[in-house]
Amino acid sequence: MDENIPDEVLEIFTQDGVLLTTAPAAYIPYINTVGTLSIVEYPNSNLTRCVEWKPIDVTIDSDMQDQEWQVVNTIAKRHRSLSGNFPVEVGHRSKYLKINMNEIKSFRVTTKNQKLAFRDGKGDCICTFVFQHGNCDGLVAVLKGIHKTVVSRRDKHLYCIADDIKNPERQQLDKSFAELNLFQEHSSDYVWKFVKNFQNRPYETTMEAFSKITDIVYRSPDHRLLDNEVNDILNRSLEAIEGNTTTHSHDEYEVVAHVPKLPERKDYPRGRPLSLEQWKALQDHDGQVEDIDAVKLVIFRGGISPNVRKEVWKYLLDYHKWDYANNEQQNLIKQRNEEYFIMKLQWRSMTKIQEDNFTDYRERKSLIEKDVNRTDRVMDYFAGENNPNLQVLFDILMTYAMYNFDLGYVQGMSDLLSPILYLMDNEVEAFWCFVGFMNKVCSNFDVDQAGMKEQLQHLQTLTAFIDPEFSNYLYKHDSANMFFCFRWLLVWFKRELSQQDVMRLWEVLWTGLPCQNFHLLICVAILDTEKNILMENNYGFTEILKHINDLSGNIDISAIISKAEGMYNQIIAAEHLTDSVRFIIGLPMLGNAIIDSKEASPDLSDLAPCSTNGEVDEASYESAISNSFL
C-alpha cells in the first residue's frame, strides 16, 4: 500500500441527494446516479481540500478504477491534467469522484440554485451536479468561505475563484492599495475555519467564534466578496441566541452585533512625580531599595522629577540592581565599564583591510553614520556640525551592534538611544541603560517584523474590545490592520512627543504597571481621542494614516496616560473579558474564549472583540445549525 495516502480526513460539508450529470470519463458509468457530495480536507496531505462525490450504495471496485484512470489518460486528453491531480487512493474513499480544489477555477449555479457546475477555467466543465433535495446554497456558502469568489461580469451565474494570484480578476481586486494584507490570512479563512468547526463541534465553536465571524462578515475588508449566503447562514444560526444579541441592518447586510458594554470609565488623575526626598527615603542606609513596588507605583502615577530621573532610570533599565548594597553596585558598575570598553575596542580595532573584506559590517556602519546625522538634530544636545555628542551616539550604536550582533543596527534604535544619552551624558551609562531598554523592546526589530505585526494585531484586539463601533469603522475602511500606529509602536511615541514628554511616558511604561503591554492602551487612548475626527470625516486608510502621522507634536500625554489607565480599569472590570485580551495584558487565561488551539492561530483569536457568554440552550442551537446546513 502506498504510504503517502492521507489517512486523516475532515469532512467540512456533506449533502445527500446529489445527482451527477456531467463527469470525467472515469465516471461516465455513474452519470445520472444519485450520491453524496462532500467537501473534505486531508490535513496531512498536500492535496488539502477536495470536492468528493460518492454514489449511494454502490461500490466501485478498485481494479476497475485503476483501469479507468488509464483510460482517462489515453483517451480524454483534456482531462489529463485533471486526472494527474486525482489521488489514486485505497481504502473506503477510493470509490469517490474526487476533484482537487486547486483544479476548480469557477463554478456556475443555475436552475433555481439546483444545478452547480465546476469549471476548470479553460472553458471546460469538470462536472455538474443537480441537487435533488433542496438546493446548493449551503455548498455555495461553504465554497465562498473557503475561497475568495467574485461574480463574473459577463455571467451573473458564474462565480470565479479569486484566490489564485494569476487569476486576472484577482489582480484587479488587489489593485486597491488600501488592501494591506499585513496579516497574511484572508478573512475568508476565518469564515472557513468557522464553518468547518461548526460542523464538528457546533455548539462550542459557535459560542466561541461567533462574534468573530459576524465581525468578519460585517467588517471584513473583503466584505464585497463574502456575500449573501455566508451571511444568511450566520444570521439564521444566530436567531437561536437572540437572547442577548441585537439584530440590525447595516448597508446591504443583515448584521448581528453582540456588544456587551464596558463598565463606565473613571477618572484617574495623574499624581506628583517621584521626588528626590521620596527616593532617598525609599533607600536604606546601604543604598538598597526596599519597597520596589512602592517606587514603581509612584513613578507610574506621576513619573520622576528631573533632579532624580537620571539616578532612577538606571534602576528602571536594569543597569543598577534594586537590591544591591552600595559596594555590590560599585562592583557591577566597574565590571560593566570594562565590558563596554572591551566591546568597543572590538570594532575600533578593525583594520582598513578587515573592513574592506566585511561588507555586512561596512553597510551597518554606514547606516549608523547616516542615521546619527538624522537623529534629534534640533535638540541643542545634538545640534551643529561636528557635535561630539553625535560621535558618542555613533560609538554606542556601533558597540551595541557588537554586543548584539544578530540584531545589529535597525532604524529606530537611534531614536531610542537619544533621550537616554541626553539624560546620562555618559557613554558607558547610556550604553547599559540602552541595553536595558532594548531588552524590553527588541522584538520591535525582529528580522521578519513578527514582533511589530503581533503588536498591531494585539492593538486591533484591544480596540475591538474597548470600542467595537470604532473598530467596525476601521474594518469598513480597510484600516483594521492598524498599520498607521506603526511608528508609535516602533519607537514608543518618540516621534510624536517632545523630549520631556517622551521621557515622562517612557518611565511610566518601564514600571510595567498597571499591566503588560500598557503602551498598547496608550495607542488605544490616543485613537479614542482622534476617532471622532476620523469618523466624522469618513476617512479611509490613506487619510487615517495621514491624520495619525500629522498628530506628531499635538498629543497631551498626561491626559492620554490617565485615559489609558481608565481604560485598563474598564477592561479588567468587564464581565465579558476574553482570553485574547487577558493574554495581551498578562492576566491568567481562563481557557474559554479561544477556539480549538489546533485551528486557532493567535490572530484568529485576536479578531474577537467580544465573546458571548450568554446562556443559550444547546439544543436550539444545534437545530439552528442543522437548519442552515442541511
Binding site: Q171, T375, V410, Q411, F445, F483, G540, L545
Partner: protein, 220 residues
C-alpha cells in the same frame, strides 16, 4: 476608494500614486519635501514606517494630484513597506550620485517593486530613475551621467534625471517628467486595448479606476 483625497470642483483631476524607492540616505524624503513644500531640512529625521504627501500640479493644461509615498529603506522593514506598492502609477527609483552602492542597489529596488506591485509580466510600467545630490563636489561623485544612461538603456527605462533636493535643482522637473512618462505609457496601453479586443475588459477597468478623482467611480 480611499485614495480620493481632495474633492475639487475642477473639471478633471487625475490622481496618481507615486512611490519613491531607494537605499536609506539617498534623499528620498528630502526630494519629496522639496517637491511638495519647496523646503529642505538638512537634519530631518530618517523615515519610520510609511509617509505620504499630496501635491497638485498642472502639466499641459491637465491637473494632477500626485500622492507621493515615501518609505523606510532598510531591508528589515520590507514586509511592512511592500504592501504599499500596489496600485502605483509611477515608480521613482533613486540613488545618490556620491554613493555607488545605492546605484548598484537599484536593480534590487526595481525587482522588489515589480514583484510586490503585482505588475503583469510584459506590461510596460513607467519607472523614472533619479540620481540625487547632484550638488556634491566633483571629486565626491561616484556615479557618472553615462553610467546612469547606460543602466537605464539596459533596463528599458526611458527617463532619468539628476537632481539636488538641497539646491532645488531639477526636482520639479523630475516629477513632471514622471507624469509625462506615465501619460505616454497610458496612451500606449490604450492602443493595445483597441488592438486586442479580448483584453478590453481588464484594461478598461484599470483606466476607469484611475481616470479621475471627481467621478468617484465605485467598484464594478
Amino acid at each position: 476608494m480611499s485614495a480620493r483625497v481632495n474633492m475639487r470642483p475642477a473639471n478633471k483631476n487625475t490622481l496618481l500614486k507615486v512611490v519613491i524607492l531607494g537605499d536609506g540616505g539617498v534623499g528620498k524624503s528630502c526630494l519629496m519635501n522639496r517637491f511638495v513644500s519647496n523646503h529642505f531640512d538638512e537634519h530631518s529625521f530618517h523615515t519610520i514606517g510609511v509617509e505620504f504627501l499630496n501635491k497638485d500640479i498642472e502639466i499641459d493644461n491637465e491637473n494632477y494630484t500626485l500622492q507621493i509615498w515615501d518609505t523606510a529603506g532598510q531591508e528589515r522593514f520590507k514586509t511592512l513597506r511592500t504592501p504599499f506598492y500596489r496600485g502605483s502609477d509611477i515608480c521613482m527609483l533613486t540613488y545618490a550620485i556620491d554613493d555607488k552602492s545605492s546605484f548598484r542597489n537599484m536593480n534590487m529596488w526595481k525587482n522588489e517593486f515589480l514583484y510586490y506591485a503585482d505588475i503583469k509580466e510584459n506590461t510596460y510600467f513607467p519607472f523614472i530613475v533619479v540620481g540625487n545630490k547632484s550638488d556634491v563636489l566633483v571629486e565626491e561623485r561616484e556615479v557618472s551621467q553615462l553610467e546612469l544612461e547606460t543602466w537605464c538603456n539596459e533596463n528599458g527605462i526611458a527617463s532619468c534625471i539628476e537632481t539636488s533636493a538641497k539646491s532645488a535643482s531639477n526636482v520639479q522637473e523630475a516629477f513632471k517628467m514622471a507624469v509625462q512618462h506615465w501619460l505616454r505609457a497610458e496612451i500606449r496601453a490604450d492602443r493595445t486595448e483597441c488592438t486586442y479586443s479580448d483584453t478590453v475588459d481588464l484594461n478598461k477597468k484599470q483606466s476607469d479606476s484611475r481616470s479621475s478623482c471627481c467621478t468617484g467611480a465605485s467598484e464594478d
